[in-house]
Protein backbone atom coordinates (compact mmCIF):
# COMPACT_ATOMS: atom_id res chain seq x y z
CA UNK A 1 0.00 0.00 0.00
CA UNK A 2 1.34 3.42 -0.85
CA UNK A 3 0.30 6.98 -1.52
CA UNK A 4 1.20 9.33 -4.31
CA UNK A 5 0.33 12.97 -4.39
CA UNK A 6 0.69 15.98 -6.60
CA UNK A 7 -0.89 19.16 -5.30
CA UNK A 8 -0.72 22.92 -5.64
CA UNK A 9 -2.13 25.33 -3.11
CA UNK A 10 -1.86 29.08 -2.66
CA UNK A 11 -0.45 29.96 0.77
CA UNK A 12 -0.30 33.45 2.30
CA UNK A 13 3.41 33.95 1.52
CA UNK A 14 4.15 31.47 -1.26
CA UNK A 15 2.50 28.91 -3.42
CA UNK A 16 2.84 25.28 -2.47
CA UNK A 17 3.54 22.85 -5.26
CA UNK A 18 4.64 19.38 -4.29
CA UNK A 19 4.68 15.92 -5.76
CA UNK A 20 6.02 12.80 -4.08
CA UNK A 21 5.32 9.18 -3.16
CA UNK A 22 4.92 7.61 0.24
CA UNK A 23 6.09 3.97 0.15
CA UNK A 24 5.58 1.54 3.07
CA UNK A 25 7.73 2.48 6.07
CA UNK A 26 8.06 5.91 7.61
CA UNK A 27 8.32 8.79 5.17
CA UNK A 28 9.47 11.94 6.94
CA UNK A 29 8.15 15.21 5.60
CA UNK A 30 10.94 17.42 6.78
CA UNK A 31 11.41 21.17 6.58
CA UNK A 32 11.58 24.38 8.58
CA UNK A 33 8.46 25.92 10.16
CA UNK A 34 6.22 27.45 7.55
CA UNK A 35 7.54 25.33 4.70
CA UNK A 36 4.10 23.83 4.09
CA UNK A 37 4.47 20.48 5.87
CA UNK A 38 1.20 20.73 7.81
CA UNK A 39 -0.63 21.97 4.72
CA UNK A 40 0.48 18.85 2.85
CA UNK A 41 -0.52 16.43 5.62
CA UNK A 42 -3.88 18.19 6.08
CA UNK A 43 -4.49 17.95 2.35
CA UNK A 44 -3.85 14.19 2.54
CA UNK A 45 -6.22 13.85 5.51
CA UNK A 46 -8.97 15.87 3.82
CA UNK A 47 -9.04 18.56 6.50
CA UNK A 48 -7.81 21.04 3.87
CA UNK A 49 -8.85 21.18 0.23
CA UNK A 50 -5.91 22.08 -2.02
CA UNK A 51 -6.50 24.34 -5.02
CA UNK A 52 -5.59 21.64 -7.51
CA UNK A 53 -3.98 18.24 -7.90
CA UNK A 54 -4.56 14.62 -7.09
CA UNK A 55 -3.92 12.29 -4.20
CA UNK A 56 -4.01 8.56 -4.83
CA UNK A 57 -4.09 6.05 -2.00
CA UNK A 58 -3.52 2.40 -2.85
CA UNK A 59 -4.68 3.03 -6.42
CA UNK A 60 -7.86 4.86 -5.40
CA UNK A 61 -8.12 8.63 -5.94
CA UNK A 62 -9.18 10.24 -2.67
CA UNK A 63 -8.75 13.71 -4.15
CA UNK A 64 -8.64 14.73 -7.79
CA UNK A 65 -9.63 18.16 -9.06
CA UNK A 66 -9.90 17.02 -12.69
CA UNK A 67 -12.25 14.16 -11.71
CA UNK A 68 -14.01 16.36 -9.10
CA UNK A 69 -13.26 13.85 -6.37
CA UNK A 70 -12.77 15.06 -2.81
CA UNK A 71 -13.54 12.39 -0.23
CA UNK A 72 -14.41 13.84 3.20
CA UNK A 73 -11.93 12.93 5.98
CA UNK A 74 -14.15 10.21 7.46
CA UNK A 75 -14.25 8.30 4.17
CA UNK A 76 -10.49 8.38 3.55
CA UNK A 77 -9.64 5.89 6.29
CA UNK A 78 -6.38 7.50 7.31
CA UNK A 79 -5.31 7.54 10.93
CA UNK A 80 -4.20 11.00 12.00
CA UNK A 81 -2.02 11.56 15.07
CA UNK A 82 -2.06 15.24 15.95
CA UNK A 83 0.66 17.17 17.74
CA UNK A 84 -1.74 17.89 20.60
CA UNK A 85 -3.13 14.36 21.00
CA UNK A 86 -6.78 15.40 20.91
CA UNK A 87 -8.08 12.58 23.09
CA UNK A 88 -11.80 12.76 23.78
CA UNK A 89 -12.07 14.04 27.36
CA UNK A 90 -15.42 12.36 28.13
CA UNK A 91 -14.27 8.86 27.18
CA UNK A 92 -11.78 6.70 29.06
CA UNK A 93 -8.63 5.42 27.38
CA UNK A 94 -10.23 2.16 26.22
CA UNK A 95 -13.22 3.96 24.65
CA UNK A 96 -10.87 6.47 23.03
CA UNK A 97 -8.87 3.59 21.57
CA UNK A 98 -11.96 1.83 20.25
CA UNK A 99 -13.65 4.99 18.92
CA UNK A 100 -12.69 4.45 15.29
CA UNK A 101 -13.33 0.72 15.19
CA UNK A 102 -17.10 0.88 14.66
CA UNK A 103 -16.58 2.99 11.53
CA UNK A 104 -14.07 0.63 9.91
CA UNK A 105 -15.45 -1.80 7.32
CA UNK A 106 -16.63 -5.02 8.99
CA UNK A 107 -14.53 -7.30 6.79
CA UNK A 108 -11.37 -5.30 7.40
CA UNK A 109 -8.95 -7.16 9.62
CA UNK A 110 -6.62 -5.25 11.84
CA UNK A 111 -4.75 -5.29 15.10
CA UNK A 112 -6.72 -6.02 18.27
CA UNK A 113 -7.04 -3.76 21.29
CA UNK A 114 -4.78 -6.16 23.20
CA UNK A 115 -1.99 -6.18 20.63
CA UNK A 116 -2.03 -2.40 20.17
CA UNK A 117 -2.08 -1.73 23.92
CA UNK A 118 0.78 -4.18 24.26
CA UNK A 119 2.76 -2.59 21.41
CA UNK A 120 2.37 0.89 22.88
CA UNK A 121 2.69 -0.10 26.53
CA UNK A 122 -0.71 1.30 27.55
CA UNK A 123 -2.43 -1.87 28.75
CA UNK A 124 -2.46 -0.63 32.34
CA UNK A 125 -4.08 2.69 31.38
CA UNK A 126 -7.25 1.39 29.72
CA UNK A 127 -9.69 2.39 32.46
CA UNK A 128 -8.07 5.77 33.11
CA UNK A 129 -9.49 9.13 32.01
CA UNK A 130 -7.39 11.08 29.50
CA UNK A 131 -7.23 14.06 31.85
CA UNK A 132 -4.96 12.17 34.25
CA UNK A 133 -2.40 10.95 31.70
CA UNK A 134 1.08 12.37 31.13
CA UNK A 135 1.91 13.97 27.78
CA UNK A 136 3.79 10.88 26.61
CA UNK A 137 0.97 8.54 27.64
CA UNK A 138 -1.60 10.73 25.88
CA UNK A 139 0.41 10.63 22.69
CA UNK A 140 0.77 6.83 22.83
CA UNK A 141 -2.99 6.52 23.30
CA UNK A 142 -3.52 8.87 20.33
CA UNK A 143 -1.26 6.64 18.20
CA UNK A 144 -3.16 3.55 19.35
CA UNK A 145 -6.50 5.17 18.61
CA UNK A 146 -5.39 5.98 15.06
CA UNK A 147 -4.04 2.43 14.56
CA UNK A 148 -7.24 0.79 15.80
CA UNK A 149 -9.38 2.68 13.30
CA UNK A 150 -7.90 0.22 10.77
CA UNK A 151 -6.33 2.96 8.66
CA UNK A 152 -4.84 2.43 5.22
CA UNK A 153 -2.10 4.84 6.23
CA UNK A 154 -1.01 6.82 9.29
CA UNK A 155 -0.45 10.57 9.31
CA UNK A 156 1.59 12.04 12.13
CA UNK A 157 1.98 15.79 12.50
CA UNK A 158 4.97 16.40 14.78
CA UNK A 159 3.65 13.89 17.32
CA UNK A 160 6.61 14.48 19.63
CA UNK A 161 7.00 18.24 19.29
CA UNK A 162 4.96 19.08 22.38
CA UNK A 163 6.94 16.67 24.60
CA UNK A 164 10.13 17.14 26.57
CA UNK A 165 13.24 15.04 25.84
CA UNK A 166 12.59 12.18 28.29
CA UNK A 167 9.02 11.81 26.99
CA UNK A 168 10.28 11.78 23.40
CA UNK A 169 12.75 9.05 24.34
CA UNK A 170 9.82 7.16 25.86
CA UNK A 171 7.84 7.17 22.60
CA UNK A 172 10.55 6.74 19.95
CA UNK A 173 11.01 2.98 20.56
CA UNK A 174 7.24 2.48 20.09
CA UNK A 175 7.35 4.33 16.78
CA UNK A 176 10.26 2.14 15.71
CA UNK A 177 8.27 -0.97 16.62
CA UNK A 178 5.32 0.40 14.71
CA UNK A 179 7.53 0.89 11.65
CA UNK A 180 9.09 -2.56 11.93
CA UNK A 181 6.06 -4.61 12.96
CA UNK A 182 3.25 -3.23 10.79
CA UNK A 183 3.06 -2.67 7.08
CA UNK A 184 1.09 0.59 7.26
CA UNK A 185 2.82 3.46 5.50
CA UNK A 186 3.39 6.44 7.78
CA UNK A 187 3.71 10.06 6.69
CA UNK A 188 5.60 11.74 9.48
CA UNK A 189 5.90 15.53 9.68
CA UNK A 190 8.90 16.74 11.64
CA UNK A 191 11.42 19.51 11.90
CA UNK A 192 13.80 17.52 14.09
CA UNK A 193 16.71 15.96 12.22
CA UNK A 194 17.52 13.49 14.97
CA UNK A 195 13.92 12.18 14.94
CA UNK A 196 14.00 11.87 11.16
CA UNK A 197 17.42 10.18 11.18
CA UNK A 198 16.24 7.68 13.74
CA UNK A 199 12.82 6.86 12.31
CA UNK A 200 12.55 7.62 8.63
CA UNK A 201 12.98 5.11 5.85
CA UNK A 202 12.40 7.83 3.24
CA UNK A 203 12.69 11.58 3.49
CA UNK A 204 10.93 14.36 1.61
CA UNK A 205 12.75 17.63 2.13
CA UNK A 206 10.40 20.59 1.85
CA UNK A 207 11.26 24.28 1.68
CA UNK A 208 8.95 27.22 0.90
CA UNK A 209 6.32 24.95 -0.59
CA UNK A 210 8.44 22.83 -2.91
CA UNK A 211 10.26 19.51 -2.65
CA UNK A 212 14.02 20.06 -2.56
CA UNK A 213 14.98 16.43 -2.38
CA UNK A 214 13.26 13.11 -1.75
CA UNK A 215 14.40 9.53 -1.54
CA UNK A 216 15.65 6.86 0.88
CA UNK A 217 16.63 8.37 4.25
CA UNK A 218 20.30 7.30 4.09
CA UNK A 219 20.72 9.00 0.72
CA UNK A 220 18.93 12.25 1.49
CA UNK A 221 20.58 12.68 4.88
CA UNK A 222 24.06 11.86 3.53
CA UNK A 223 23.73 14.27 0.63
CA UNK A 224 26.06 17.25 1.10
CA UNK A 225 23.69 19.56 -0.78
CA UNK A 226 21.03 19.12 1.89
CA UNK A 227 23.33 20.21 4.70
CA UNK A 228 22.07 23.79 4.66
CA UNK A 229 18.42 22.70 5.01
CA UNK A 230 19.23 20.32 7.84
CA UNK A 231 21.32 22.93 9.63
CA UNK A 232 25.12 22.68 9.85
CA UNK A 233 25.22 21.34 13.37
CA UNK A 234 22.53 18.77 12.65
CA UNK A 235 23.96 17.46 9.40
CA UNK A 236 25.16 13.90 9.46
CA UNK A 237 24.79 10.52 7.87
CA UNK A 238 22.85 7.44 8.86
CA UNK A 239 24.51 4.03 8.67
CA UNK A 240 22.84 0.65 8.82
CA UNK A 241 24.64 -1.59 11.27
CA UNK A 242 24.43 -5.03 12.87
CA UNK A 243 25.50 -5.75 16.45
CA UNK A 244 28.28 -8.32 16.50
CA UNK A 245 29.44 -8.37 20.13
CA UNK A 246 29.16 -6.73 23.52
CA UNK A 247 32.54 -6.26 25.21
CA UNK A 248 33.28 -6.34 28.91
CA UNK A 249 34.72 -2.82 28.90
CA UNK A 250 31.28 -1.37 28.07
CA UNK A 251 31.59 -1.16 24.33
CA UNK A 252 29.37 -2.68 21.68
CA UNK A 253 30.91 -3.84 18.44
CA UNK A 254 28.95 -3.24 15.26
CA UNK A 255 29.51 -4.13 11.65
CA UNK A 256 28.76 -1.52 9.01
CA UNK A 257 29.31 -1.93 5.30
CA UNK A 258 32.67 -0.15 5.47
CA UNK A 259 34.16 -1.88 8.51
CA UNK A 260 33.73 -2.19 12.28
CA UNK A 261 32.58 0.37 14.83
CA UNK A 262 32.91 0.37 18.63
CA UNK A 263 30.20 2.39 20.35
CA UNK A 264 29.04 2.83 23.96
CA UNK A 265 27.05 -0.15 25.20
CA UNK A 266 23.66 -0.67 23.53
CA UNK A 267 20.76 -2.53 25.15
CA UNK A 268 20.13 -4.74 22.17
CA UNK A 269 21.01 -8.37 21.51
CA UNK A 270 23.86 -9.56 19.32
CA UNK A 271 22.62 -9.94 15.76
CA UNK A 272 20.11 -7.07 16.00
CA UNK A 273 19.99 -4.59 13.14
CA UNK A 274 20.32 -0.98 14.10
CA UNK A 275 20.98 2.40 12.59
CA UNK A 276 23.62 4.80 13.75
CA UNK A 277 23.65 8.50 13.03
CA UNK A 278 27.04 10.14 12.87
CA UNK A 279 27.12 13.93 12.79
CA UNK A 280 29.28 15.61 10.16
CA UNK A 281 31.05 17.62 12.86
CA UNK A 282 32.09 14.45 14.75
CA UNK A 283 34.17 13.00 11.93
CA UNK A 284 37.86 13.75 11.44
CA UNK A 285 39.31 13.07 7.99
CA UNK A 286 42.84 11.61 7.84
CA UNK A 287 44.97 11.27 4.73
CA UNK A 288 46.75 8.15 5.94
CA UNK A 289 45.92 5.48 8.54
CA UNK A 290 46.52 7.22 11.87
CA UNK A 291 48.47 5.46 14.61
CA UNK A 292 48.52 6.12 18.36
CA UNK A 293 45.12 7.77 18.27
CA UNK A 294 42.54 7.60 21.06
CA UNK A 295 39.67 7.29 18.57
CA UNK A 296 38.62 3.65 18.15
CA UNK A 297 36.71 3.92 14.93
CA UNK A 298 38.60 4.36 11.72
CA UNK A 299 36.83 3.58 8.47
CA UNK A 300 38.60 3.62 5.11
CA UNK A 301 36.66 5.78 2.66
CA UNK A 302 36.78 7.43 -0.73
CA UNK A 303 35.87 11.09 -1.20
CA UNK A 304 32.85 11.50 -3.50
CA UNK A 305 32.10 15.22 -3.26
CA UNK A 306 33.56 18.34 -1.72
CA UNK A 307 30.78 20.84 -1.12
CA UNK A 308 31.95 24.36 -0.25
CA UNK A 309 29.77 26.19 2.28
CA UNK A 310 29.31 29.89 2.80
CA UNK A 311 31.73 30.14 5.73
CA UNK A 312 35.23 28.76 6.29
CA UNK A 313 33.94 25.18 6.20
CA UNK A 314 33.40 22.55 3.53
CA UNK A 315 31.33 19.40 3.65
CA UNK A 316 33.04 16.25 2.45
CA UNK A 317 30.96 13.29 1.37
CA UNK A 318 32.77 9.96 1.44
CA UNK A 319 31.79 6.46 0.44
CA UNK A 320 32.58 3.79 2.98
CA UNK A 321 31.47 0.37 1.79
CA UNK A 322 27.95 0.93 0.48
CA UNK A 323 27.22 3.78 2.91
CA UNK A 324 27.98 7.45 2.73
CA UNK A 325 29.54 9.56 5.46
CA UNK A 326 29.51 13.32 5.81
CA UNK A 327 32.32 15.27 7.42
CA UNK A 328 32.46 18.99 8.06
CA UNK A 329 36.02 20.32 8.04
CA UNK A 330 37.66 23.67 7.28
CA UNK A 331 38.39 24.74 3.76
CA UNK A 332 42.03 25.20 4.77
CA UNK A 333 42.39 21.53 5.78
CA UNK A 334 40.65 20.37 2.63
CA UNK A 335 43.07 22.35 0.50
CA UNK A 336 46.13 21.28 2.49
CA UNK A 337 45.13 17.61 2.18
CA UNK A 338 44.18 18.09 -1.49
CA UNK A 339 40.82 16.47 -0.93
CA UNK A 340 38.91 15.97 -4.12
CA UNK A 341 36.61 13.26 -5.48
CA UNK A 342 38.45 9.96 -5.77
CA UNK A 343 40.92 10.63 -2.94
CA UNK A 344 41.40 7.75 -0.50
CA UNK A 345 41.07 8.82 3.12
CA UNK A 346 40.24 7.51 6.59
CA UNK A 347 37.20 8.70 8.53
CA UNK A 348 37.90 8.89 12.27
CA UNK A 349 34.89 8.75 14.60
CA UNK A 350 35.06 9.19 18.38
CA UNK A 351 32.97 6.47 19.99
CA UNK A 352 31.61 8.65 22.78
CA UNK A 353 30.39 11.32 20.37
CA UNK A 354 27.60 9.09 19.11
CA UNK A 355 24.70 10.03 21.34
CA UNK A 356 22.39 7.36 22.66
CA UNK A 357 19.46 9.20 21.09
CA UNK A 358 21.06 8.78 17.70
CA UNK A 359 21.02 5.02 17.90
CA UNK A 360 17.81 3.46 16.67
CA UNK A 361 16.53 0.03 15.82
CA UNK A 362 17.01 -1.46 12.37
Amino acid sequence: MSLSLEITHQMPDFSLSVSFEVPPGITALFGPSGSGKTTVINAVSGLLKPDAGRIILAGEPIFDTSLRINLPPHKRRLGYVFQDGRLFPHLNVEKNLLYGQRFAPQDESGPSLESVSELLGISSLLQRAPGGLSGGEKQRVAIGRALLSRPRMLLMDEPLAALDEPRKEEILPYLERLRDQTDIPILYVSHSVSEVARLATSVVLLDKGSVLRSGPAEQVLSDPTTVRQLGLRQAGSVLSAAITAHHADGLTELTVSGGTLFLPKMDRPVGAKTRVRILAQDIIVAGSLPRDLSALNILPAEVTTVQPGSGPGVVIQMRSGSDHLLARITRRSAEKMRLKPGAHVFAVIKAVSVARTDIGTR
Partner: protein, 232 residues
Protein backbone atom coordinates in the same frame (compact mmCIF):
# COMPACT_ATOMS: atom_id res chain seq x y z
CA UNK B 1 -50.90 26.44 53.59
CA UNK B 2 -50.42 24.02 50.70
CA UNK B 3 -53.51 21.97 51.57
CA UNK B 4 -55.62 25.08 51.03
CA UNK B 5 -55.46 24.72 47.23
CA UNK B 6 -58.76 24.79 45.40
CA UNK B 7 -59.38 22.90 42.15
CA UNK B 8 -58.91 26.08 40.12
CA UNK B 9 -55.46 26.64 41.59
CA UNK B 10 -54.43 23.03 41.04
CA UNK B 11 -55.61 23.22 37.45
CA UNK B 12 -53.46 26.29 36.86
CA UNK B 13 -50.38 24.64 38.36
CA UNK B 14 -50.79 21.39 36.41
CA UNK B 15 -51.54 23.26 33.19
CA UNK B 16 -48.41 25.39 33.58
CA UNK B 17 -46.28 22.28 34.15
CA UNK B 18 -47.83 20.56 31.14
CA UNK B 19 -47.43 23.60 28.90
CA UNK B 20 -43.81 24.20 29.96
CA UNK B 21 -42.72 20.58 29.55
CA UNK B 22 -44.25 20.37 26.08
CA UNK B 23 -42.84 23.75 25.10
CA UNK B 24 -39.28 22.78 26.05
CA UNK B 25 -39.50 19.22 24.70
CA UNK B 26 -40.87 20.27 21.31
CA UNK B 27 -38.51 23.21 20.81
CA UNK B 28 -35.33 21.51 22.04
CA UNK B 29 -34.28 19.70 18.83
CA UNK B 30 -34.74 22.90 16.81
CA UNK B 31 -32.94 24.91 19.49
CA UNK B 32 -29.94 22.53 19.35
CA UNK B 33 -29.90 22.69 15.55
CA UNK B 34 -30.10 26.52 15.44
CA UNK B 35 -27.48 26.83 18.18
CA UNK B 36 -25.15 24.51 16.24
CA UNK B 37 -25.70 26.45 13.01
CA UNK B 38 -25.02 29.77 14.73
CA UNK B 39 -21.95 28.45 16.53
CA UNK B 40 -20.31 26.41 13.76
CA UNK B 41 -21.49 27.41 10.31
CA UNK B 42 -20.81 30.48 8.23
CA UNK B 43 -23.73 31.24 5.95
CA UNK B 44 -25.70 34.08 4.44
CA UNK B 45 -28.29 35.39 6.84
CA UNK B 46 -26.32 34.34 9.93
CA UNK B 47 -27.00 37.73 11.55
CA UNK B 48 -30.63 37.68 10.44
CA UNK B 49 -31.22 34.26 11.98
CA UNK B 50 -29.51 35.36 15.17
CA UNK B 51 -31.75 38.46 15.28
CA UNK B 52 -34.93 36.45 14.65
CA UNK B 53 -34.11 34.01 17.42
CA UNK B 54 -33.55 36.83 19.89
CA UNK B 55 -36.57 38.86 18.82
CA UNK B 56 -38.99 37.48 21.47
CA UNK B 57 -36.48 38.56 24.13
CA UNK B 58 -36.57 42.18 22.97
CA UNK B 59 -40.18 42.62 21.81
CA UNK B 60 -42.86 43.42 24.41
CA UNK B 61 -44.51 40.04 25.13
CA UNK B 62 -47.91 41.53 24.25
CA UNK B 63 -46.59 42.29 20.76
CA UNK B 64 -45.32 38.73 20.37
CA UNK B 65 -48.71 37.44 21.52
CA UNK B 66 -50.54 39.68 19.09
CA UNK B 67 -48.27 38.64 16.21
CA UNK B 68 -48.99 35.00 17.13
CA UNK B 69 -52.69 35.75 17.04
CA UNK B 70 -52.35 37.33 13.59
CA UNK B 71 -50.40 34.39 12.11
CA UNK B 72 -51.54 31.39 14.16
CA UNK B 73 -55.10 32.59 14.90
CA UNK B 74 -57.99 30.74 13.21
CA UNK B 75 -58.02 33.36 10.46
CA UNK B 76 -54.24 33.78 10.33
CA UNK B 77 -52.25 32.40 7.39
CA UNK B 78 -50.66 29.52 9.26
CA UNK B 79 -53.46 29.08 11.79
CA UNK B 80 -56.15 28.47 9.16
CA UNK B 81 -53.87 26.08 7.25
CA UNK B 82 -53.14 24.10 10.43
CA UNK B 83 -56.87 23.83 11.18
CA UNK B 84 -57.75 22.70 7.64
CA UNK B 85 -54.91 20.21 7.30
CA UNK B 86 -54.51 18.75 10.77
CA UNK B 87 -57.60 20.04 12.57
CA UNK B 88 -55.19 21.70 14.98
CA UNK B 89 -56.42 24.90 16.63
CA UNK B 90 -53.94 26.93 18.67
CA UNK B 91 -55.65 30.23 19.52
CA UNK B 92 -57.43 30.17 22.90
CA UNK B 93 -56.37 26.54 23.52
CA UNK B 94 -53.66 25.09 25.75
CA UNK B 95 -51.75 24.07 22.60
CA UNK B 96 -51.44 27.77 21.80
CA UNK B 97 -50.02 28.36 25.28
CA UNK B 98 -47.35 25.75 24.41
CA UNK B 99 -46.46 27.66 21.24
CA UNK B 100 -46.31 31.01 23.06
CA UNK B 101 -44.17 29.57 25.86
CA UNK B 102 -41.86 27.80 23.39
CA UNK B 103 -41.25 30.97 21.39
CA UNK B 104 -40.59 33.06 24.49
CA UNK B 105 -38.23 30.47 25.96
CA UNK B 106 -36.43 29.78 22.67
CA UNK B 107 -33.81 32.59 22.79
CA UNK B 108 -32.67 31.61 26.27
CA UNK B 109 -32.35 27.92 25.40
CA UNK B 110 -30.53 28.61 22.13
CA UNK B 111 -28.15 31.03 23.82
CA UNK B 112 -27.10 28.61 26.56
CA UNK B 113 -26.59 25.74 24.09
CA UNK B 114 -24.74 27.94 21.62
CA UNK B 115 -22.26 29.03 24.30
CA UNK B 116 -21.70 25.38 25.22
CA UNK B 117 -21.08 24.41 21.58
CA UNK B 118 -18.66 27.29 21.12
CA UNK B 119 -16.69 26.00 24.10
CA UNK B 120 -16.17 22.59 22.42
CA UNK B 121 -12.80 22.49 20.65
CA UNK B 122 -13.55 21.93 16.93
CA UNK B 123 -10.24 20.08 16.76
CA UNK B 124 -11.83 17.22 18.72
CA UNK B 125 -14.59 17.03 16.13
CA UNK B 126 -11.96 17.07 13.37
CA UNK B 127 -10.11 14.23 15.09
CA UNK B 128 -13.32 12.19 15.30
CA UNK B 129 -13.81 12.78 11.56
CA UNK B 130 -10.36 11.41 10.74
CA UNK B 131 -11.24 8.29 12.76
CA UNK B 132 -14.12 7.62 10.37
CA UNK B 133 -17.09 9.31 12.05
CA UNK B 134 -19.51 11.15 9.78
CA UNK B 135 -20.75 14.60 10.83
CA UNK B 136 -23.87 13.21 12.46
CA UNK B 137 -21.86 10.61 14.39
CA UNK B 138 -19.38 13.25 15.47
CA UNK B 139 -22.26 15.31 16.81
CA UNK B 140 -23.87 12.38 18.60
CA UNK B 141 -20.69 10.93 20.13
CA UNK B 142 -18.46 13.97 20.70
CA UNK B 143 -20.32 17.29 20.57
CA UNK B 144 -23.51 16.25 22.36
CA UNK B 145 -21.86 14.60 25.39
CA UNK B 146 -19.50 17.56 25.73
CA UNK B 147 -22.28 20.18 25.68
CA UNK B 148 -24.51 18.28 28.10
CA UNK B 149 -24.01 20.70 31.04
CA UNK B 150 -24.86 23.66 28.78
CA UNK B 151 -27.79 21.76 27.33
CA UNK B 152 -29.18 21.10 30.80
CA UNK B 153 -28.74 24.77 31.70
CA UNK B 154 -30.58 25.76 28.52
CA UNK B 155 -33.44 23.38 29.25
CA UNK B 156 -33.86 24.67 32.79
CA UNK B 157 -33.72 28.31 31.72
CA UNK B 158 -36.26 27.59 29.01
CA UNK B 159 -38.49 25.69 31.42
CA UNK B 160 -38.37 28.54 33.96
CA UNK B 161 -39.17 31.10 31.27
CA UNK B 162 -42.06 28.96 30.03
CA UNK B 163 -43.45 28.57 33.57
CA UNK B 164 -43.41 32.34 34.01
CA UNK B 165 -44.66 33.36 30.58
CA UNK B 166 -47.58 35.75 30.90
CA UNK B 167 -47.87 38.55 28.32
CA UNK B 168 -47.73 36.60 25.07
CA UNK B 169 -49.80 33.76 26.55
CA UNK B 170 -52.67 35.88 27.81
CA UNK B 171 -52.79 37.80 24.51
CA UNK B 172 -52.72 34.69 22.31
CA UNK B 173 -54.81 32.18 24.32
CA UNK B 174 -56.53 34.44 26.88
CA UNK B 175 -57.12 33.39 30.49
CA UNK B 176 -59.80 30.69 30.54
CA UNK B 177 -59.87 28.76 33.86
CA UNK B 178 -59.21 25.07 33.31
CA UNK B 179 -58.22 25.60 29.67
CA UNK B 180 -55.63 28.32 29.23
CA UNK B 181 -55.23 29.70 32.73
CA UNK B 182 -51.57 29.14 33.59
CA UNK B 183 -49.92 29.83 36.92
CA UNK B 184 -49.07 33.49 36.21
CA UNK B 185 -52.53 34.11 34.70
CA UNK B 186 -54.13 32.61 37.83
CA UNK B 187 -52.03 34.82 40.10
CA UNK B 188 -53.06 37.81 38.00
CA UNK B 189 -56.75 36.81 38.21
CA UNK B 190 -56.64 36.35 41.99
CA UNK B 191 -55.09 39.78 42.37
CA UNK B 192 -57.97 41.32 40.41
CA UNK B 193 -60.67 40.19 42.89
CA UNK B 194 -61.04 41.48 46.46
CA UNK B 195 -59.79 38.93 49.03
CA UNK B 196 -57.78 36.98 46.44
CA UNK B 197 -54.43 37.92 47.94
CA UNK B 198 -54.11 34.77 50.06
CA UNK B 199 -54.70 32.49 47.08
CA UNK B 200 -52.30 34.57 44.99
CA UNK B 201 -49.64 34.36 47.69
CA UNK B 202 -49.99 30.56 47.88
CA UNK B 203 -49.39 30.36 44.11
CA UNK B 204 -46.47 32.77 44.35
CA UNK B 205 -44.80 30.57 46.99
CA UNK B 206 -45.44 27.50 44.85
CA UNK B 207 -43.88 29.24 41.82
CA UNK B 208 -40.79 30.04 43.85
CA UNK B 209 -40.60 26.44 45.07
CA UNK B 210 -40.88 25.01 41.53
CA UNK B 211 -38.26 27.42 40.19
CA UNK B 212 -35.84 26.66 43.03
CA UNK B 213 -36.16 22.90 42.72
CA UNK B 214 -35.65 23.10 38.95
CA UNK B 215 -32.47 25.07 39.56
CA UNK B 216 -31.18 22.62 42.17
CA UNK B 217 -31.91 19.58 40.01
CA UNK B 218 -30.22 21.17 36.98
CA UNK B 219 -27.21 22.14 39.06
CA UNK B 220 -26.79 18.54 40.24
CA UNK B 221 -27.21 17.16 36.71
CA UNK B 222 -24.84 19.72 35.18
CA UNK B 223 -22.18 19.02 37.79
CA UNK B 224 -22.45 15.31 37.22
CA UNK B 225 -22.11 15.82 33.44
CA UNK B 226 -19.18 18.21 33.86
CA UNK B 227 -17.39 15.73 36.10
CA UNK B 228 -17.76 13.06 33.46
CA UNK B 229 -16.33 15.34 30.78
CA UNK B 230 -13.31 16.47 32.77
CA UNK B 231 -12.67 12.80 33.37
CA UNK B 232 -12.40 13.04 37.15
Amino acid sequence: MMDGFGPEEWQAVLLSLKVSIWAVALSLPLAVFIAYALARWQFRGHQLLNGLVHLPLILPPVVTGYLLLLTFGRRGAIGSWLEETFGLVLAFRWTGAVLAAAIMAFPLTVRAIRLAIEAVDPKLEEAAGTLGASRLWVFATITLPLILPGLIAGVVLGFAKAMGEFGATITFVSNIPGQTQTLPSAIYTFLQVPGGETAALRLVILSVAIAMSALVVSEILARRAARRISGG
